[in-house]
Symmetry: C2
Subunit: 355 residues, 2 copies
């Protein structure tokens, strides 16, 4: 069955209603719902409303603590350390980026480090405020360990996320948002369903042996980092920023999103904001960004390539399409949301859902 096309506002409203019913304050429910529905609209469904059942489970179990917006532990003119106190990841990350923006506007550069936090979804979401203000940002987080050490068999880190964004004159901002694994788990699942092989170097089986069988990677095996030891090194850099610098838990100390409703994940986040206005007029920076993107996009194309696509463009185009035509949501995900809604006492009213 093809995905249903749900109007963005209806999807966002459903997510908000479910979070409200689970006891989340209205401001936090609105923000978390917006992050989830926006991720779906951008086609990043693994960060979308499919997470609502486990979010509600974590809230009910006490692992996520709505209403806690983070407490400033230490501060300098350009940096701030925030204790999330097991609050909702989106709420605290949004606030941390706000704090980094204020620091950057005052001194040219701002860093916010967050400890004792939880899953924040799609990193690109938190880049919107800096780029709207003409600022450059780099964000990361640690995550539950599901990728082994390079050369080892023990899972001690995730294929961690790296988000980088900068404003561009006359265009959507440049938004790089990726994880350090060779292929996203969803793409490996899709290859398994279609009976396709994945490229060598994508992952290993449960015994740590290289395989091109996507089923073996998903079932007990694991995904490898891009560039082998290089990607693992970058992953360690991200863990140092998000885990060591924040004074929080890291690597194998971190807890999974699933299966432990009463435990916070104890994640750390890191946000860097730089004001290009220190170096030149902000409008000149945005012009040079446009010049750079034009340079890249004007490249002679390889055979079979219709257009040079830069980071962020596929998501931005899906986003525009979803706002016009509705957000594509898998029927299996809708069913789970309806089950959750019935259980929690929320009426589902999705005008676009052709079911």
């Amino acid at each position: 069955m093809p995905p249903a096309l749900i109007p963005f506002e209806a999807l966002r409203h459903l997510a908000e209603s479910l979070l409200l019913a689970a006891g989340v304050p209205i401001d936090e429910a609105a923000l978390v719902a917006d992050t989830l529905a926006t991720a779906d609209a951008r086609g990043m469904h693994s960060h979308g409303v499919m997470r609502l059942p486990v979010y509600v489970e974590k809230i009910r179990g006490g692992g996520f603590r709505p209403g806690r917006k983070g407490v400033v532990l230490r501060e300098s003119p350009s940096a701030v350390l925030i204790d999330a106190q097991d609050g909702l990841g989106a709420v605290v990350m949004d606030r941390a980026v706000d704090a980094a923006i204020v620091k950057a506007q005052a001194t040219g550069v701002g860093v916010a480090a967050v400890t004792n936090s939880n899953h924040y979804g799609e990193g690109a979401y938190y880049a919107r405020k800096p780029v709207e203000r003409g600022l450059v940002t780099l964000l990361t987080s640690n995550g539950a360990p599901n990728m082994p050490v390079w050369g080892g068999l023990t899972r001690m880190t995730g294929p961690l996320p790296l988000t980088f964004a900068a404003p561009v004159r006359g265009r959507e901002p440049f938004v790089l948002d990726l994880a350090m694994g060779v292929l996203a788990r969803g793409k490996i699942l899709m290859a398994a369903e279609k009976g396709l092989e994945v490229p060598p170097g994508t992952g290993v089986d449960a015994d740590g042996k290289p395989t091109t069988d996507p089923g073996k990677i998903i079932n007990g095996g694991w995904i490898l980092p891009i560039g082998g030891y290089k990607g693992f090194g970058i992953t360690m850099m991200l863990e140092i920023l998000a885990g060591v610098l924040t004074g929080g838990a890291l690597g194998r100390e971190l807890r999974e999103l699933y299966g432990v409703p009463d435990r916070s994940q104890s994640l750390g986040h890191f946000a860097l904001v730089i004001d290009p206005g220190v170096f030149m007029d902000r409008s000149l920076f945005e012009e040079r960004m446009a010049f750079y993107l034009d340079m890249i996009k004007s490249s002679e194309r390889a055979p079979g390539v219709d257009e040079i696509i830069v980071a962020g463009e596929p998501e931005q185009r899906r986003h525009l399409r979803a706002l016009a035509d509705g957000v594509p949501i898998e029927p299996s995900v809708l069913t789970k949301l309806e089950t959750l809604a019935a259980e929690i006492g929320v009426t589902v009213n999705l005008p676009g859902a052709a079911r």
Copy 2:
């Protein structure tokens, strides 16, 4: 013929003498010579004394301007923009990192952006001052375009470098230093000089066809980024930091180190320094770094792996060995240095060179 083992101080002194003879002021010659000899000692020969002939050529041609240490163009409490005025890359990068350290010590975070600069060699060298002071650092630079746009055939960026370092209690610092290409250009150059093949997937020839012949990659072909579009996206991030944020040249505007003695490369550099002392006692940060590295290194090992090696360790071990036993230098490189020395009027006296 095996590499000659040259005492570190003799190698450094030879490099310094050649630079002095080329008209470089003593303080700058000492610094540049130290960066080159140290890179060789760490086994990073592509950033080592093999670069001296082209450095001297650039100095004589006017592309490198010794004596120019950089001028501060703009400044804020946490950030500084430095015009290198075509000076030696090592000289200006070292000064830029100093400036970022001062900013970080004052406000918690410091950023230095450098424009109109040149080749600075091995990034790891510039991490030594921050880590000695208990600080965390992230460094990058743009470089001559020798990697194509992802999906394209036009070279508009280099496989740019990323350096990240943090101090560790009771250990050598964690130093990640890599380029976003599958293999560094210098290593491909070295392979070509030695007549060796490079691994499949490293690059393509002038027609865009995969090749393991380093000569074909260097001469008209190109190096591929790690992780395909992901590595290309990270490369764009580094170019934005080093090229757009600095207000300087970028991508295809940049010039090669080789072949144009009279032109500056017009490179941009970026240095970020963060003081962990804002977030916790610095000694606690260094303890947590040791805890994290111990965690990674204690991983169960994959079959055939004797030890989990983290970023920086191979270079640090080679460095210690080279300080004890001498720095291994290829006979072909020594011959070129001797030719240069004879031409420039420098007496070569290398006690360890068994030739």
